[in-house]
Amino acid sequence: MSIGSSPTTEPPALAAASHEEAPTRETLLALDGMTVTFRTPAGDRLPLVREASFQVRSGEIVCLVGESGSGKSVTARTVMGLTQRDPAMAVGGRAEVLGHDIVSDPSVTAGLRGRDLAMVFQEPMSSLDPVCTVGTQLTEALRRRHGKASRQAERSRLAELLAEVGIVDGRRVLDTYPHQLSGGMCQRVMIAQALACAPRLLIADEPTTALDVTIQAQILELVDRLRTEEQMAVLLVTHDMAVAAELADRVVVMYAGRVVEDAAPVALFDQQLHPYTSGLLRCIPPMVDERPARLVTIPGGVPSPAALPTGCSFHPRCPHSVDLCADRVPELADHGGRRSACWRAEELSR
């Protein structure tokens, strides 16, 4: 059973599901109160992700945004079944990936990765095998999905894939080793590798942060196309609100391990129901509008999970906080199709 509450949710008959048919929005990732806790050597329990709840459906790009320390990368890694390998990490709540419960059995993700599930990490150098050529690694990914084909057919398909991520001399790159390539090039090889298996769900953690804007534009365009044409579902972790504005169907904002706001981009950029989101948007220097004399900043910094403020974690930095905010944690409440975890959301939106 899927925990997705969407009425269009299909039973997770994964093998039989075909995405050529009319786009039925199938829930491919569903988090319901997922928590990730880190146990320090001293025995303290640090909450890295606190009751995260959101869904990603087929043909949908969900951008998970927030600053360093917000828990967005930990959320992405947990969904891939990677944090669970660390004995100091404990995962609780409910989380389903492609219909499989990954909290009770994280090992199921191993069978999904490289077929229906793919991930792009931030550090390409450590994610590629240094002793295999790019071609060998990409062929492996291609075969995992499509089976073995003739060498010529495989190479031309891979060169095509590399061209799609902006690598022009793909055939040459196939014969190189990762150390012979630049960081940006490796990052694109990683993206090509993730896409070679035609995943139904792509988890991408800051995939374009290290790349030039020109290359970023090419890759975002490609991801956008795969979402539309192949109904690929994407969880895109990014710190860049502008990327979210361009690409996302939904934007999920995290702060100090908690989802604080969740809305469609047009609604979110028009009006924020959480002061943290407003703050994040106001610090971005404008590209089109008149430049402010000074950029607006959020005072202070993101709290450490070892010293979280009481009540709403954002209240010490919040310009609108009242006594209640320091006392009680606000629930992530529904506000007409969007959600906000702020005691004063209704009041401030008026």
Partner: protein
């Protein structure tokens, strides 16, 4: 047009012409790299015959993709890298002709803030010692005089003095960058090279550091050579923008002109590739094919022609003319998108 925009420090764009603080005069830098064969060598042209002036109390931003040569040009401007040819003048004196001793003295006037504060701060020193070091070495300050000066610098960059005894590792990224800035301004330099100084920071911290840099420029009359790949920050802080492609500054001009009316197809493509934090914003996107070619094999004629959407046969044969307008807008293109007249 640029004079009507509200910018820190009022009308920065209108300024009487003054002698440049830094002048690059036909500066080139070539590196030799390994070729295909065992003994073959290839020449990589990182910076190709660049001439430009940095006026005092001005922010000159260099933008461009990785591999465009912007960091090398920044290092050449401080003679941190020896130019292969050309001259670099600082306050009218030729840096490239200086003896090591003269250079050391002049260098106090020019400082650098790097991208990675953790990599550029000694992990075993307290942050107060890091800021104090240049003052002890170059100014010979000791005791309470030194302590007072360090405390004043901490205050100037917005760092809590209770942090002074901590190691860089104990600070956040933003605080570490503030330490790097405090160290850089300790000797009251005139020129600050900020090489991707705000690029790795979270947006809210990036805004804080950008504001700090703008504030220090006004207060101390600093000149910035600001290297960044993030265009919104450049638009916020720069007076003049230079756009680099394969070792050349292909377009240069007042920040508002560059962003609102780019004349070089590359500049236009670069700006149009920058995501805008507004989901309702629609723009004409110029999607560039492929990537920047290798600097060991720079295309003939116009170096951008292999990716240019409007290139013709002429572009492959003839190097583009250098067009200069009265506002100081410079573009190297056979077919500029905006009229640039002398």
């Amino acid at each position: 047009m640029s004079t009507t925009t509200t910018v820190p420090g009022g009308d920065r764009a209108v300024r009487p012409p003054t002698a440049p603080l830094v002048r690059l005069d036909h500066v080139s830098k070539h590196f030799t790299t390994k070729g295909a064969g065992l003994f073959s060598r290839r020449t990589l042209t990182a910076v190709d015959d660049v001439s430009l002036d940095l006026p005092p109390a001005h922010t000159f931003a260099l933008v461009g993709e990785s591999g465009s040569g912007k960091s090398t040009l920044g290092r050449l401007a401080l003679r941190l890298t020896e130019p292969s040819s050309g001259r670099v003048h600082f306050e009218g004196r030729d840096l490239t002709a200086m003896s090591p001793r003269q250079l050391r003295r002049t260098r106090q006037q020019m400082q650098v803030v790097f991208q990675d504060p953790l990599g550029s701060l000694d992990p075993r020193m307290s942050v107060a010692d890091i800021v104090a070091e240049p003052l002890r070495v170059h100014r010979g300050l000791r005791g309470s005089e030194l302590d007072d000066r360090v405390a004043a610098l901490f205050e100037q960059v917005g760092l809590d003095t209770s942090r002074m005894r901590q190691r860089p590792k104990a600070l956040s990224g933003g605080q570490r960058q503030r330490v790097g800035i405090a160290r850089a301004i300790a000797l009251e330099p005139r020129l600050l090279l900020a090489d991707e100084a705000v690029s790795a920071l979270d947006v809210s911290v990036q805004a804080q550091i950008t504001n700090l840099l703008a504030e220090l420029r006004e207060r101390l009359g600093l000149t910035y050579l600001f290297i960044a790949h993030g265009l919104p920050v450049v638009r916020q802080i720069a007076d003049t923008v230079g756009v680099m492609y394969l070792g050349r500054v292909v377009e240069q001009g007042p920040v508002d002109e560059i962003f609102s009316a780019p004349a070089h197809p590359y500049t236009k493509a670069l700006i149009s590739a920058q995501p805008v934090a507004d989901p309702t914003y629609r723009r004409e996107r110029v999607l560039l094919q492929g990537e920047i070619p290798s600097a060991t094999a720079i295309p003939s004629g116009c170096r951008f022609r292999t990716r240019c959407p409007i290139a013709t046969a002429t572009c492959a044969e003839v190097a583009p003319p250098r067009l200069v307008s009265s506002t100081g807008h410079v573009v190297e293109c056979h077919y500029p998108l905006e009229e640039v007249v002398a």
